[in-house]
């Protein structure tokens, strides 16, 4: 059974090239891709059950002992992240098949599996250079997916996205070199063990290395002022890809949680509260700018993109204090905002397919206006954090967890006011697209695109949001255990380095 935990990596790594052999045979590709992703959901759920016992599983690549070999580590946080990824991926895949999105360019399914391979790897690796490599894997796949279907604006946005991320990767290597120069190791558990024994004269280098890594993950997580890649990318990416990218920003959040609890933890005297102090103001400003963008979007896709920026801000507000309570709130909000953003982008694609554009201008009512409006309403409620869906509970957790924080007034003010701004922004956008449309006369009535399978995809993701609202109790129990495990890194270090440490 020891090989079981790397199955998500092996399956995706085998399936991605295997799917290439069936190019042009869409039915086979679709079947294989769907079956693979469904199997991944089951395996990830089983791994989550295994990790829920508190056991930290370690897989040594080629059986080389850490810190010399590369290890894959599965703890509660990793298991939660891979399960979330697999669930979102399944919903999005069903939608792209139902709407023929996968047929509008070459190699959608192989790239999709490569994307999942990179995501799973980044979430499970215990080696920071390997984290860089998996970042590159998921980025290369995302470059392909981003321009899937082509088009002038999409290609331009794709170039921006690639160049921004190339610069980010370069910075990542710079920070890795700095880390290696200080720590002399790249294994995260080994670094954590060595961090406590570093001499005080290394403080400047350690702080520099930490700040550089933070910048790299902030690029991934679209934290202001490093968020510039996100609005154009999400607006112009094919909608299912934008929905899948909802998890990409969370990889940045995951990496920050992992590295800044394990290596540069809050108890490390050399860095102290430096990273918390850097992160909190940036997170507050991100939330504000994101939600102002929601008001001024100009098209539904851009409104949703800025909502994604804003929700990353709220997520980082909850991550920034690096305390156990706040991390529980952050994890709940992370799961929620991934699913909400995914559902929202898929609904916007339904609008585009029926209306011809998601620009906020007056056009005749679309076909199936009521159905799409209902779905948009649900996704918007989830995104803005209105009751009764999980966004409300998530924001409540965040506010509650930060009650005793020195900046509590700012946090409460920003989160509450920006929520109102987001509600106004979404209400305005929705009323232009769905409501005022009835004042315009339609010339022709276009046929309704196929809906059945596509609806199953969106419905599945929305059902998950409802599920995490109803089952908020059991879920938070798991998340509380996850946070407890994160802030007791000795278990992780012991599991990776073995008894002899």
């Amino acid at each position: 059974m020891m090989h079981f935990m790397v199955l998500p990596l092996i399956i995706t790594a085998v399936m991605a090239p295997a799917l290439l052999f069936f190019r042009g045979q869409l039915v086979i590709q679709r079947t294989l891709s769907l079956v693979t992703t469904a199997v991944l959901v089951v395996i990830c759920a089983m791994l989550m059950v295994q990790a829920a016992t508190g056991e930290i599983s370690v897989y040594k690549m080629g059986n080389w002992d850490a810190p010399f070999g590369i290890v894959m580590v599965l703890d509660r946080l990793s298991a939660l992240m891979i399960t979330l990824t697999a669930l979102l991926a399944l919903g999005v895949l069903v939608y792209s098949i139902g709407t023929n999105w996968d047929d509008r360019g070459a190699h959608f399914h192989p790239l999709y599996q490569f994307q999942l391979f990179g995501l799973f790897g980044a979430m499970m690796t215990g080696d920071i250079f390997n984290l860089f490599v998996f970042f590159e894997v998921l980025l290369i796949a995302s470059y392909g997916l981003m321009v899937h279907g082509g088009g002038r604006l999409r290609t331009q946005a794709g170039v921006q996205y690639i160049i921004y991320n190339l610069a980010g990767s370069t910075l990542f290597v710079f920070s890795l070199a700095t880390i290696y120069a200080v720590f002399g190791t790249l294994n995260m558990a080994d670094m954590a063990a060595k961090a406590a024994t570093l001499p005080p004269e290394d403080a400047a280098l350690v702080r520099t290395a930490g700040a550089m890594v933070l910048l790299v993950f902030a690029v991934k997580g679209a934290l202001l002022p490093l968020h510039f890649w996100l609005p154009n990318t999400y607006t112009h990416a094919p909608a299912p890809v934008a929905a899948l990218f909802a998890i990409m920003t969370k990889v940045g959040a995951y990496a920050i949680l992992r590295v800044f609890t394990l290596i540069f933890g809050p108890s490390l005297a050399l860095t102290g509260t430096l990273f918390s102090d850097l992160l909190m103001p940036a997170a507050l400003i991100t939330t504000v700018i994101g939600m102002i963008g929601v008001l001024a979007g100009g098209s539904l896709a851009r409104v949703a993109s800025f909502a994604a920026v804003g929700s990353m801000g709220t997520l980082f507000i909850a991550i920034a204090p690096f305390t156990e309570d706040a991390t529980v709130a952050a994890l709940y909000y992370l799961v929620h905002s991934t699913l909400a953003a995914g559902a929202l982008f898929l609904v916007i694609d339904m609008v585009q397919a029926r209306r011809g554009s998601c620009a906020l201008d007056l056009r005749a009512p679309m076909v199936q206006s009521g159905l799409v409006a209902g779905l948009f309403f649900a996704a918007a409620i989830a995104t803005t954090g209105l009751p009764p869906l999980s966004g409300f509970i998530g924001k409540l957790f965040v506010l509650d967890a930060l009650r005793d924080h020195p900046l509590a007034v700012w946090v409460w003010g920003v989160v509450l006011v920006t929520s109102l701004v987001a509600v106004v922004g979404f209400a305005q956008a929705g009323s232009i697209v769905f409501w005022k449309a009835h004042a315009v006369k339609a010339d022709t009535t276009p046929a309704a695109p196929a809906t059945g399978v596509a609806l199953a995809g969106i419905g599945g993701i929305l059902a998950l949001i409802v599920l995490m609202t109803v089952a908020a109790g059991p879920l938070t129990d798991y998340l509380a255990d996850t946070a407890a495990q994160l802030y007791a890194p000795d278990g992780y270090i012991g599991a990776v380095l073995g008894g002899e440490g």
Partner: protein
């Protein structure tokens, strides 16, 4: 030697950063390549600079650290591949859009008839 390496890395980074801010695809890609050179050199130097010492343990020491050399190789391969992708994408964008400028206006996404399911 440290001073020389530091000056080389510093000037490569400075020039690369400057070119990256030019907002046209060609200078930006050249800038990225220069940054990639700088970072490879920096990564190489992270294992400390030593002259005439082998990275192999079975040869008589003093030894240099072999790991950064392996990491540098990985980084070179990735940077090389990524630059190729960036060049192709920039070329496609130029041929599609008729401009090599990087900034974009605030436009609603295009929807092709195919995407409308027609």
């Amino acid at each position: 030697m440290e001073l020389l390496v530091a000056i080389i890395i510093g000037s490569l980074t400075a020039v690369g950063t400057y070119l990256m801010l030019r907002l046209r695809t060609f200078p930006v890609i050249v800038g990225l390549s220069l940054l990639a050179y700088a970072v490879n050199f920096f990564l190489f130097a992270s294992g400390r600079l030593m002259l005439n010492s082998p990275p192999l343990l079975y040869v008589e020491g003093p030894h240099t650290d072999g790991l950064p050399q392996a990491l540098t190789l990985t980084a070179i391969v990735i940077a090389f591949g990524m630059t190729a992708v960036a060049v192709i994408m920039a070329l496609t964008a130029y041929l599609n859009g008729g401009s090599d400028k990087l900034d974009m206006q605030n436009e609603a996404p295009e929807v092709t008839p195919e995407e409308r399911g027609q």
